[in-house]
Assembly symmetry: C2
Homo-oligomer: 398 residues x 2
C-alpha cells in the first residue's frame, strides 16, 4: 500500500465539486467522485482547495511570538531599529531556534507550505540565527519547506567581519545570498553589491536583496543591480525585496526600471506596505515580472503587527493596490501562491495532477471570499499529509 489520501468534496480554486487523490506526496487525480477503495479519506465539506500558501519573505529567526509582551519604544530611524534589535537579542534571549519553530507552527496553521526566511548574520551574533533556523528546518521538515537567505541585517561592509560570516553561512547551507540597502545602510553601493554578487557566484546561489531605498536613490541601486545581473549572466537569479522606489509616482523614472526588471527576469517581493510607496503589482505582472509577497517581520522588535497568515496578506496587498474587483484580488492571491513559487523556483508547485500535494482547504465561495473572510483553515496538507486542522497545527513548538 502506497502512502495515499483521498480528499472528497472540495472545490479546486473555487470550481466545481471534486475529489483529490494523493499518492506518495503527489496529486494523482482530480475529478468528481473518484473511486479509491481502501484509501484513507477526508471530507472537505465543499470548501475551497487551494495550492499551499507561499510565505516568500519573512524573518523566522527573530519573531517575539509567544514571548512576554514587550512595549516597543525604539527610535525612528532604520538604523535605530537595527541597533535596538541586535542589542535586545541577547538581552531578552530571542533564541532563533525556539522563535523560528514558533513562527513555523503558526505559519503552517494558516496554510503556508513554503517559507523563505531572511536570517540575520552579524558580528555580534555570528551564525546563531542561521544555525537556529537550520535546526528548525530539519525538525519541521515534515510540515514545511524552508529556504534560508543569509541576511546582513546590520550592514555588510560597515561592520568588518560580516562578509566572512556571510561566506560561512553559505558554506553552512544557506540557500540564497542576501543584501541590504547598498547606499543607505552600507554607504558603499559598489562595494556591497560587488561583494554579494561575488558570493552568489562563488556558491552558485541566487540573490535576494532588501531594497528600502526610496526614489532616485533606490533607482541608482537598482541600476547597479541591473549592471551586475547582466554582466554575470545572472538573469532569473536575483530578487529585490520591498523595492519601494518602484512606487515613486514619476512614471519617467519607474517605467524604464520596470522594463529592465522584466528583461533581466528579476523577481520583486512586496508586502503591500500601507505607509510606504509600493511596487505597482498589476503593472509588474502585466510586464511579465515574477512577484511574490510575505509577512516580513512578525511581532518583532521592529513592530507589533503580523500573524503569518498569507490569506490576510492577500487582503493587505489588495488594499495597498486598490484591488476591488474579484479578478484584481485574485492577482494578490496569485502573488501569495504561484508568485512565491515562481520566485523560489519551487519544483512541482500547483493544484494539478502530478504536482506536489501541498494544499490548503478553506471555507469560502470564491478565492476572494476566502481572502477577505479568512476563516481558520479546515485542513493544511503538506507532502500529502494533513499537518493542520481547523486552524491548529499537528506539531507544537517549544
Amino acid at each position: 500500500m502506497t502512502d495515499a489520501l483521498l480528499i472528497r468534496n472540495v472545490r479546486p480554486s473555487g470550481g466545481d465539486l471534486a475529489d483529490i487523490l494523493i499518492r506518495d506526496g503527489r496529486i494523482a487525480a482530480i475529478g468528481p467522485s473518484l473511486a479509491a477503495p481502501g484509501i484513507p479519506t477526508e471530507d472537505g465539506g465543499g470548501a475551497l482547495a487551494l495550492p499551499g500558501l507561499v510565505e516568500a519573505h519573512t524573518h523566522l529567526d527573530k519573531s517575539l511570538w509567544g514571548m512576554a509582551w514587550r512595549p516597543n519604544d525604539s527610535g525612528p530611524r532604520l538604523i535605530d531599529k537595527i541597533d535596538n534589535e541586535r542589542r535586545l537579542k541577547r538581552e531578552i534571549n530571542i533564541d532563533p531556534a525556539r522563535q523560528s519553530a514558533r513562527q513555523v507552527v503558526l505559519s503552517v496553521s494558516h496554510g503556508s507550505t513554503h517559507i523563505r526566511s531572511h536570517v540575520d548574520v552579524d558580528t555580534d551574533h555570528g551564525l546563531w540565527g542561521i544555525e537556529g533556523v537550520m535546526e528548525t528546518r530539519a525538525a519541521y521538515a515534515d510540515i514545511v519547506d524552508i529556504d534560508i537567505v543569509a541576511f546582513p541585517q546590520s550592514g555588510l561592509l560597515r561592520r568588518p567581519g560580516t562578509l566572512d560570516l556571510m561566506d560561512r553561512a553559505m558554506k553552512a547551507g544557506a540557500d540564497v545570498v542576501g543584501g541590504l540597502d547598498p547606499c543607505a545602510i552600507d554607504r558603499d553601493p559598489k562595494g556591497h553589491l560587488d561583494a554579494i554578487f561575488a558570493l552568489a557566484e562563488k556558491y552558485g546561489k541566487p540573490l535576494d536583496i532588501h531594497l528600502h531605498e526610496p526614489g532616485e536613490m533606490g533607482a541608482f541601486s537598482f541600476d547597479l543591480i541591473f549592471e551586475r545581473t547582466r554582466a554575470l549572466g545572472m538573469e532569473g537569479q536575483v530578487v529585490v525585496s520591498h523595492a519601494f522606489c518602484l512606487g515613486t509616482p514619476d512614471r519617467d523614472l519607474v517605467d524604464p526600471m520596470i522594463e529592465q526588471i522584466a528583461a533581466l527576469d528579476i523577481g520583486i517581493m512586496t508586502t503591500g506596505p500601507a505607509s510606504r510607496p509600493a511596487p505597482p503589482v498589476k503593472r509588474l505582472l502585466d510586464a511579465g515580472i515574477r512577484v511574490c509577497s510575505g509577512s516580513d517581520g512578525i511581532r518583532d522588535t521592529w513592530g507589533p503587527y503580523g500573524n503569518a497568515d498569507m490569506l490576510e496578506r492577500v487582503m493587505l496587498v489588495g488594499l495597498r493596490n486598490n484591488f476591488r474587483r474579484d479578478d484584481e484580488v485574485e492577482l494578490a492571491f496569485h502573488v501569495c501562491t504561484q508568485g512565491g513559487a515562481d520566485i523560489m523556483r519551487l519544483e512541482g508547485y500547483g493544484l494539478n495532477v502530478g504536482a506536489k500535494a501541498d494544499l490548503v482547504i478553506v471555507a469560502g465561495e470564491t478565492i476572494t471570499h476566502a481572502a477577505v473572510a479568512r476563516p481558520p483553515r479546515r485542513m493544511v496538507i503538506k507532502h500529502g499529509r494533513v499537518v493542520a486542522r481547523d486552524g491548529v497545527c499537528s506539531r507544537i513548538a517549544p
Copy 2:
C-alpha cells in the same frame, strides 16, 4: 434591586486587576475586590477591559454581508461605482433593513457599542435606506447606539429632487446632514455646500461630509467648508470624512489647512486607506483635532473587504501611519474609541466611574497586543448588559 452587574478580574485599559461594578447602565465603581453581595457576576479571567469600540464611519444600508457572493466587476471611476451600486440595489435586493441588521450584529460581536452610519438618499430609492436603518436602530437599540447621516451618495444637485429627499430624511429623524465631493461629484461646490450647510442650519444638526477630492481640489473644497463653518458659527459641528487631500506630501499646502481645521474644531475621519494619501493621524492629534475612524463600506458593491472589527481597524490605521511603538499604536486605538466619541459627541463615554457601561472585554497583555492579535471578544457590554460573548452576539439578524 437595581439592574446591576459585577465584572471581576479584568484589567481596565491594561492596568492592574480590578472589578467593575455596573448599576443602572452606568459604571458605579472600579477597584480591586469590590464587595457586591447578591449581584450577578461575570469573570473576566484577567482580560483587558476597554471602552466600547466606536465605528464612526460606515454604510449600514448597503453591505452585502450574508448574501450570496457576487463577483465584483464594476468600472474603475468613482461614478462607475456609484451608478453600479444604485442599479444593483433593486436588481439583487440589497434591502437596507435586513442588511443593516446583519452588519449591526456583526459589529456588536466585535465590540462596537456605537455606530455612525452614512445612509444613501437618492431619487431612485428615496428614503428606502433611511427607513431601513431607522427600523434596525429601533429593533437593536438594546445592543448598540446608531447615529444616522443622510448621505447624497449619487450627488445632490446633479440629480434634481435629491435635496428635497435630504430634507425629508432630516425630518424623518436623521441625526446628521451628509455631503459628498462638492467639486468632483456634484461639480458645483458653492451650490452643494450652500445647500447642505443650509439644511444643517434649518434642522440644527451637525454635518459630516465625504471628501475624497485629492490635492489642490480637496484643499479648495476645504476652504469653502472653512468659510461656511466660520460664517454660520458652526465651529465644532462639522466633520470631514476621508480628507485624502490632508495626505498630500506638500506641507505648504497641508499645514495651513491643519491650522484652520483645529481653529474651527472640525473633526476628521480616516479609515487609514492603504492605497490613498491619508490624513496624518499623529499630526492632527498633536494639533488638538478630533480624529475618528471607521470601517467604511463592508463587503459591498464597492469592494470585498471589511469585517466591522474596529480592533482590526486599529491595526490598519496603525499600518497606514507607520505606527510601530506601543505608544503610537495606542493613538490608533484612541481614534477607534475616544476619538469616535469626541466626533459623535457621545455623552458619558469612557472607562470611568459615572460613565455609561459600554465595554469590551478582550484577551491581551496590553492594548497594542489586543489590537494586533484580535481574538474573539470575550464579552461586549452595552447599557450595562452582556450583548456578545466569545465573539457571538446575543441577538441574531434576519
